[in-house]
């Protein structure tokens, strides 16, 4: 992929992911996250993972993030106050994160190969090849994910379901309770 494109995407994605962490208002965080996801999807496409890239946008941006949005609306979350308490934890956490970033940089930048140097077969990353792999080698796992999703849906409903309202008559009658 062209360097300019990469740099652009990299800058945007890092900036937006920082936005996720630093912004106060959850909605803004969400927006930043969406932007990150889109850029990462674009990176996928640029890395010849076309299908996965678009799927990323469809699934994450089109579905999961909307779920987040709904939850934020449902809980009516406002901007959170200035953080207090556990400051020591935060301090050390920051250090730890920095250390991890450093480590990962050193670790991952070991590979010096350039993108162009590896030529992939035609149709690499296309939906056909993905399907071939998915429904061939990984069929079992794929089918299992369906069960996973089913369970997740049921679990989500079960957990989030509001308990059935108790009638005033059924419950212990309070004095002056409307019946």
């Amino acid at each position: 992929m062209p360097v300019q494109l990469f740099i652009f995407l990299a800058v945007v994605s890092i900036a937006s992911s920082l936005g996720v962490v630093v912004q106060k208002n959850p909605i803004h965080c969400l927006l930043a996250l969406i932007l990150t996801l889109i850029t990462i999807g674009a990176l996928f496409v640029a890395l010849d993972a076309v299908t996965v890239g678009f799927l990323q946008i469809i699934v994450y941006v089109g579905a999961i993030m909307v779920l987040f949005l709904f939850v934020i609306w449902l809980l009516n979350l406002q901007a959170e106050p200035v953080p207090i308490g556990h400051l020591g934890l935060k301090f050390f956490a920051t250090i730890a994160v920095a250390a991890m970033a450093a480590e990962l940089f050193v670790f991952l930048s070991k590979t010096r190969t350039a993108l162009g140097e590896v030529n992939v077969a035609a149709g690499y990353g296309s939906i056909d090849s993905l399907a071939q792999t998915l429904f061939g080698q990984y069929l079992m796992a794929f089918e299992t994910t369906s069960i996973l999703l089913l369970v997740a849906v049921i679990g989500a409903v079960a957990v989030a379901r509001r308990a059935l309202p108790v009638r005033a008559s059924a419950g212990s009658p309070r004095p002056g309770a409307p019946s």
Binding site: H86, L89, A96, V97, M100, E103, V106, K110
Partner: protein, 640 residues
């Protein structure tokens, strides 16, 4: 020779089913069904036992019916299956247990008619039958011991059946504990046996195998095992020194006393000795011990019975003394005679108890003979049957007791134990004396019944009288299968039992007429004495008791044995339990250890739980540190 006969299992099955039914459904289904089921299952078992018995008679005399129900214990090389066998001995015992048992169950229907806890009662009774049958049908010593313990349990449960009265509960406990002492001996005997035979590669307790391999044991080992097993027998069969529980056991319902503490369970010891006769044959010393203990117990218990006033106590001591006779018999090697006496005794002693029960029933729980008398008019059937039983136990011909007791005494004499024989015949005199004392005090003379009880003296219901009549019949004719040698068909039962318990080999040959004459004469003398004392000159006993104050007290207080045990055994035991075991070891050491362990863990938890701040981010932080470490490790790997 072995013959597979699967129906044996059903002999056990029926009491088991009855037990379960009465235990779980009985109370709910009500008296009617319990009264049917309870005795019904025993009658069924009796029928099957009869079938098996006939089958056995058809087969050659030395044959054994066997069935293996399921593999039971396979520990290492040791093997014990849940297997049954029925040879002549088992067959006879099974018939006694189921037959007499069935009659007593039937009797109980009437006896417990006014008790609300009938379901539990019959459940226990069925369970007892089950255990007793396991005991007599087991084909190995271990399974037999299981039945042994089972009957012990039932005995305990039934003695303290009316548990609301603390005395009954105490009596039950006493019986249980005393039996435990004996069982400890039994267990040790089994262990020794297994160990000794295991040394020779015999890892089983099957009677057949034992019988075949008992020769491998040295005389010393054999004696030890035999004595230890006999300790168990003294416990179960109430011999000196472990007889003390039996008199108290009369606290239970009278049918129970009849079934368990007269007819069946207490004879288990005799059965065991007969079953293991091949072992005792190898241990003459043990045999001597058995015979001596038996004879001493016989006369000892009889002497106590002379002065007891409680009708059931008298019968209890007479039971002990009769058991002594049996052990005398098996002790001198006349195993068949012993078993024969077990049978006849089962008949007339059960009958006696049932009659006593009938009397008590009629007198609304009155057991003191000084408050009876003249009941003969009110309880004709009871009186007649009890008289028959008394004649039987007093060993007057042609009643059952005569033949069996004579066989024992004759064997004792012929085996050269003259001393023991003397004790035996004296006991015979005493027996007839105290039994007729009982009869006269209860049924003759003028009534001393308390006023409030006079009005409802009544003959017992049909369910109670029928067993009396049947048993009375048996008490008359029961002995005729063991006539002396040469008389008519001779000693049938001896011949029948010979394959499983061997023949009696006499050493000397006293003249039969002389021996019988002596014992018979003494018995009659006892009767006359009783007649004179208690009918002709009623004041006499009190005079004698006054003259021989001290002796009388000794007898009346049963030689103060209970007090002796109390001071010698029980008190120290309590002291040790309370202070050494309880305070020192248990409360201090063990509790200390346990609490210490708990405390350690708790403190550790108190300290370590501080890590659980409940703050997700701290957990995540620790997690990240871990990730850092791991990545660092791989970084090291790739850089070096």
């Amino acid at each position: 020779m072995m013959a597979h006969f699967s129906a044996l299992g059903f002999i056990l099955l029926f009491p088991a089913l009855g037990f379960l039914f009465n235990l779980f459904l009985g109370a709910r289904r009500g008296r009617g069904s319990v009264n049917i089921i309870g005795p019904g299952v025993i009658f069924a078992a009796f029928a099957i036992a009869l079938i098996a018995f006939i089958r056995l008679l058809r087969l050659p005399s030395d044959s054994v019916l066997t069935v293996t129900l399921w593999p039971w214990i396979h520990a290492g090389r040791f093997q014990a299956d849940f297997a049954l066998q029925m040879d002549a001995l088992s067959a006879l015992m099974t018939l006694i247990v189921t037959g007499v048992g069935a009659l007593i169950h039937l009797y109980s229907v009437g006896y417990m008619a006014h008790d609300d806890d009938f379901a539990r009662y019959f459940a226990y009774l069925n369970l007892f039958e089950l255990s007793m049958l396991i005991l007599v049908l087991a084909n190995n010593l271990l399974l037999m011991f299981m039945g042994w313990e089972g009957v012990g349990l039932c005995s305990y449960l039934l003695i303290s059946f009316w548990y609301t009265n603390p005395n009954n509960a105490y009596a039950g406990r006493k019986a249980f504990i005393v039996n435990r002492i004996g069982d400890a001996g039994f267990l040790l005997g089994m262990f020794t046996l297994v160990a000794a035979l295991g040394a020779h590669g015999i890892w089983t307790l099957n009677f057949s195998a034992l019988r075949g391999n008992v020769g491998l044991l040295g005389p010393a080992t054999a004696t030890i095992v035999a004595v230890l097993l006999f300790v168990g027998a003294t416990g179960k069969s109430a011999q000196i020194p472990l007889y003390v529980w039996l008199p108290d056991a009369m606290a239970g319902p009278t049918p129970v006393s009849a079934l368990i503490h007269a007819a069946t369970m207490v004879t288990a010891g005799v059965y065991m000795v007969a079953r293991m006769h091949f072992l005792y044959m190898l241990a003459p010393t043990a045999m001597e011990l058995v015979a001596t203990i038996g004879a001493l117990t016989a006369i000892y218990a009889a002497s106590i019975a002379l002065v007891q006033l409680d009708i059931k106590k008298v019968l209890a001591y007479s039971t002990i003394s009769q058991l002594g006779y049996m052990f005398l018999g098996v002790g001198v090697g006349a195993f068949s005679a012993g078993i024969f006496h077990v049978m006849t005794h089962a008949f007339f002693k059960a009958l006696l108890f049932l009659c006593a029960g009938s009397v008590i029933h009629a007198l609304d729980g009155e057991q003191d003979m000084t408050k009876m008398g003249g009941l003969r008019k009110h309880l004709p059937i009871t009186y007649a049957t009890m008289l028959i039983a008394t004649l039987a136990i007093s060993a007057l011909p042609p009643f059952a007791g005569f033949f069996s007791k004579d066989q024992i005494l004759e064997s004792a004499y012929n085996s050269g134990h003259r001393g023991l024989w003397c004790l035996g015949i004296i006991t015979a005199a005493m027996t007839s004396f105290y039994m007729f004392r009982l009869i006269f005090l209860t049924f003759h003379g003028d009534s001393r019944v308390e006023a409030d009880k006079v009005h409802h003296i009544h003959e017992s219901p049909r369910t109670m009288t029928i067993p009396l009549l049947v048993l009375a019949g048996l008490a008359i004719i029961g002995g005729w299968i063991g006539l002396p040698e040469g008389v008519m068909w001779g000693d049938k039962i001896g011949a029948f039992l010979a394959p499983s318990v061997g023949e009696f080999v006499p050493i000397v040959h006293g003249s039969y007429a002389m021996l019988t004459g002596v014992s018979l004469g003494l018995a009659i003398f006892g009767i006359i004495l009783a007649w004179y004392f208690y009918l002709v000159a009623p004041g006499m006993p009190y005079l004698i008791a006054y003259q021989l104050q001290s002796g009388y007290n000794v007898l009346f207080n049963k030689y103060y044995v209970d007090e002796l045990y109390n001071t010698v055994v029980t008190r120290p035991l309590f002291w040790v339990s309370t202070f050494v075991l309880g305070r020192l070891i248990d409360s201090f050491m063990i509790d200390g250890l346990v609490n210490g362990a708990g405390l350690t863990v708790e403190t550790g938890g108190q300290l370590s739980r501080r890590l659980e701040t409940g703050n997700v981010q701290q957990y995540a932080f620790v997690y990240v540190l871990g990730v850092l470490a791991i990545v660092a490790y791989y970084l090291y790997l790739v850089t070096h």
